[in-house]
Symmetry: D3
Subunit: 301 residues, 6 copies
């Protein structure tokens, strides 16, 4: 069809072709709307997509689209970049162990304040400007996320936690009213302690507790490659067995290993599909969910 | 953006441009989804769009799309062509007066059988094949349409009727369950008489009784032209006063007069906008409702 | 009590006796109203009861009575007589194999048009005139009846089908609103094909899917006789074992065999009682359901 | 029709005629069921109908019938006879003024005990034995009847009261669950005092507060006569103006005057029809409500 | 804290201390409100607490408090004292066997009249005066208590019954509307017979059928003592095993044995805790349920 | 009663007196529970009560108590102290005009982060630890608070705003689920700007939009005094007219003027009573709302 366009340039004809193209795309989207309407999709939002103004705008447009076509969308966000900026202003040096932030009491206060106060409310505001409703929550609100201290390789990292329970009834009530929960990855325990939790883990825990249709990680990579140096080797789809053998065979390496393991574990606990997509591409969510070919790597059972 | 395509032909780049185009169209559609989700739109379905197999398919795709994005869609259909074919097979000669079918008892039986039995169930089946729910009704079902004999210029045309009441509670119950009512233009009175009613009038009566957001006539013309001989003179939008003065000034003529009057009257009785669009164009509904420019003539207050 | 009436003829006394009779009958009816209120009863409507004007009237009065005393009534109708009349008008010769109509595409169109368009809407209209609500459906509406081609003794009879699924949620929604579903025995498959299905089979399939209290066949016989030539040998009640042995022993013969087998199978699949009654008797439904002695043959477990 | 019975005596024919009679009566009842289903009817129950075992049985059968065909029935009962019997056993002499019981504290205790404890629970039990639900209430239960002392001709009769408020929300909740409220005519005030109230007045107050369809007084007379000495002069129906002029003209006299005034006042306050019927006739309620001619006097607007 | 009060007597300071005391008590009550809000507690009301005017008043205040803080309260009352008084007035001599009233027909009528008519309505009225809603019921109302004759040691005591079924749906409907059911211990069977049932047994049967949180017996003793002659030996809490061994060891004796057995059986059938408390103490219910130490004997699993 | 305590010291007697005292206080609380159950009370939380650990604990106990006895509680909090501490850490100097914080973009970010991230989530966590549910919100969540820039005496203070709309439907949905909304005084406009709003004004705006029963300001004063130097001159109650004349007469002065004006305006806009109470007193809320004498100043109509 595009080939024709080289030849014809009379404006009126051109518009008709464009219109045909428009409806073709809407009709293609129709099959995905049918498939996912009424289903629950958790989006882990982080990385470049949270920093670039244009990407932020296309992200909330995508979220609004999903909400309007009847998908129960839940957003879980990170915010390490903003935390580091605030720590720096406060002359507190960020410390990490195995990629996890060592979180003493002073740092925990900054983490909560930045995630639940700045980043969370910013995302809520951007979604509301699209004309759909969002509600910002952290794990303390309505008893959402019970957590406990997470010990990594025998090391106590302070107030670093892991999810031990998700109050799904609260999320279901919010979703039933067509409101989008936007969740900061902060947990608490019965003694009133606050915990800093990895946002990927929160997204995964929520997906599993709701038996979600999809869990989508918006990342700063295009997906998983069979040869990390050759960008033509993107793996569009892999099942759990393949994923594990790719790790075993050293095809999936380094920082991608925990992310892929997180995907595999979500599948094994009842999530239907998990996606790693490129948050640096505008409207990557729409492309992955509502177009036939998708853009990243999808994990299936 | 299309200009670029002439220059580049490397397939990979091409796909990215196409994807960008896809999301641009979905995002444009988003604003119309927001605007019309939860609203009620009545479609008068007739003419070529009911005869051509491809047009029939794109019509039900459009209807399914509207249903899935939360619009309350009601379809009112005609079927004169099918009636005439059946009358011919039965060696009954169709007779008309002022464009209205003279309907004796024998003809009435054929009209009802063809509209409520063949045409109606065919449309219902086609919509169901799209994976959304439709329910075929005529005015007898659940007391939907009360009618009385219509006298035209003092002439009794037999069982030709006009709507005197619409049972909106029935339609609202059906719509609340996300089911699409598909309505054959057959009415009845309290004595048990059956009436053949003009489908435009039924669509208009239902729109008015529900204070619908939109009433859309799928026709065999592109819309209303200021100069009927010059297809570049399509009037995209007109208000009630303009419509009446166009009729007064002889700009709108002949067969278009009753249709435009029907549009004007619907607006005057609480319908927000009324559209005359070209049913001969594939996906004309999607184009009119979900793209920025529309394709036909829209009447406003 | 009636004996007294011979002796007394003074009008005033006569009226009091009549009134006593009236309440005696209403009070007798009370026990059956108590028993069946809130229960689901499927009526297969066909034969003479559909042709004679007086019988048609008493039928819809009975249906309205059942609806008003809280019974969930579903009507499944046939219409072979009307189909044959229309085929004759169209010069199409009806063909049968083992009592089943061989249904080519042209015939299928006529069958659907007559059943879903004429007969169905006529019954709906008659019920509505009694002041209670009815909704005409065929198997296409709201995905009601999934069907597949039925092969009889290795012979392909064209578009003759059998029911493979009933969408009970649709029927329950309609019944919950105190509306009577009136069902034309037309099915469809996932490819969009239309099927002509035996109305007895549709009534039976629906009864089984709803675990109905009763399935009643309105027929042109008085019931099952132990001696077909002696009308004093009507069997008022038989259980499944008796029915099967009557068939085995040659007491039930010919055309009655498939009907009795259909009754037996319904009982075996969860219907509480199945009745074969005489549709040629006025108010046969009221007599069978609301009076102590009944008039036909009742099958029990 | 009955004349024929003298001639024919073959048993089989006889049964068919009887069956025809049965359905005729059921079908006649149908029109009244249609008319009153969903409406509210208050029955004042008293007099002979409460004393005779057979009449008590037919009364509760009638009440059950009304409940089962969807009528919201409320029973208000008296019990003067039982009170007098108990007072006699306790050697307390009943005293009356203008037909109203002078009610000192000791008498009030007996009245409440007999009405709310014996009579009320007996009626509830009899209705429950018919298989429908009843709930016994007095004016204290759930704040049903606010009352105040009633002064008659300047005379203080002790704890004789009149209704000043009915808690209709309680009655509506009970009726919504298809339960029959059975009400003893006992009221209370905000200080905790108990009042003996005339049952006719309680029935009337409740009817008015609910804008009831019907208020029926079961009495020990056949209705209102234009000549009290000639039992052929029963007035079947009268409107408010007629009733008042019959009183003015001395046609309605003595004890009938307050009863007719009570009927008139109910009509004037929103009750649709009020009936005085003969509780000494078995099934008088069924006869009055579900047969074409009725048996007593009906008051209309 | 109280020691301080000896020293300070300046009024202003005194008030602050009093206020501090007030909030301390409310905050202590808070933990019990949290624990029991939404739970079901059955109170057996009888003995001195029903006779003394001041105790009656504090009882209904306690009941109102429980209702207002969200507890589902059910009151089951006795009334032997009032029955005996009425029997005496009627010159009927009360007769007992093993502490159970021998109940002939005449006595049964008096029992029902007094319990369901006088005592029940008196309690309802007192609760209503506290501004919360109560509904008086006996076992006949809404089919609440199915009973059968109870044979004690082979002896027929007349209309003495035991509970064989509780209609919990009725109680749940009433409780859902925040209304307090007040229940007279009268049962009925399917033949219409009325039975006099021990109120302890009715309270226990209802508690078991609802898997109640608590069953509380208001009695004329302080609780269970390990040495009946030494009032410092009150046993505050005992489990089922202890209770049974106390009976076996002769520590619990005489009239306390059936009461303790009744408690044990309730625990064994799903009631969480059962309490024997002293109805002679003002506000004994509040003290037992909303203060840390309680006042009687609590049975646990 | 307390006088007795000096004399008696036998422990057992003492306990009984204490218990009597306990129930007296609970019964007194009962009247207030009755009065306010089901009503909506807004608490403005700020000042010392937010800083002192013990006061924080008694505050959330009071909030939990109110929630458990059926009051719809909404908490609006300030946090100026925490903001100033964070600004200081970030070396940003707080600037004020007429007591309002001049809020440039950098300050706004800190204000939002501290209020919506630290303070809000801390309060939510403390309430959750009491076993009742709370949800932290700012004006962005679910479109709660529409705001616009507030100009004070012609001066632009930056992102200082005032409330122009409250989305009451969101608050009602949350309260219906027995969840306590905890609200940070942050608003937004349709362009996405964030505003710092005075917490008193937010509490007042919400109270007015909900026609609240009560608005309570927890402050660092005991209430309003007729002579500010004499603490025995606390005014317990004043109506709107009195309040305005006290201001006119110079009895209410300085910083108390805007607070009293805010109270008056709330009363004039439909709030039933407004209270200024001393947040420095433990359990000041319980004392004011559930004890007979109260502790601060109450404004009435």
């Amino acid at each position: 069809m595009y080939e024709l366009m080289v030849i014809i340039d009379h404006k009126e004809v051109f518009i008709i072709i464009e219109k045909t193209e428009q409806v073709k795309i809407l009709v293609e989207a129709l099959q995905f709307i049918k498939k996912f309407s009424g289903k629950t999709i958790i989006i882990k939002y982080g990385g470049s997509a949270m920093k670039n103004a244009e990407l932020k705008k296309t992200f909330v447009e995508d979220i609004a689209f999903m909400n309007l076509v009847g998908i129960n969308v839940i957003v879980v966000h990170g915010g390490g970049h903003s935390i580091n900026k605030m720590l720096k202003k406060l002359s507190i040096e960020p410390k990490f162990f195995n990629g996890l932030r060592i979180t003493d009491e002073e740092t925990m206060e900054v983490v909560e304040m930045v995630l639940a106060g700045s980043v969370n409310k910013g995302i809520v505001n951007d979604i509301q400007l699209q004309g759909v409703d969002a509600l910002g929550l952290c794990g303390k609100d309505g008893d959402l996320l019970d957590a406990k201290k997470k010990i990594i390789e025998g090391k106590d990292l302070g107030f670093v936690g892991e999810v031990i329970n998700v109050k799904t009834s609260l999320l279901k009530d919010i979703l039933k009213n067509s409101i989008i929960p936007v969740i900061a990855p902060i947990g608490k325990d019965n003694l009133g302690n606050t915990y800093n939790i990895n946002a990927d883990d929160v997204a995964s825990a929520i997906s599993k507790s709701l038996n979600a249709e999809k869990l989508v990680f918006l990342t700063d990579v295009s997906g998983v490659f069979s040869n990390i140096n050759d960008h033509t080797t993107l793996i569009s789809e892999m099942n759990v067995d393949q994923a594990l053998s790719y790790i075993g065979d050293g095809i999936i390496t380094n920082g991608m290993i925990p992310k892929v393991k997180c995907c595999v574990e979500a599948i094994q606990n009842g999530v239907n599909t998990v996606h790693i997509i490129d948050g640096r591409v505008e409207h990557s969510l729409l492309l992955e969910i509502f177009t036939p070919h998708g853009i990243g790597t999808m994990f299936i059972k």
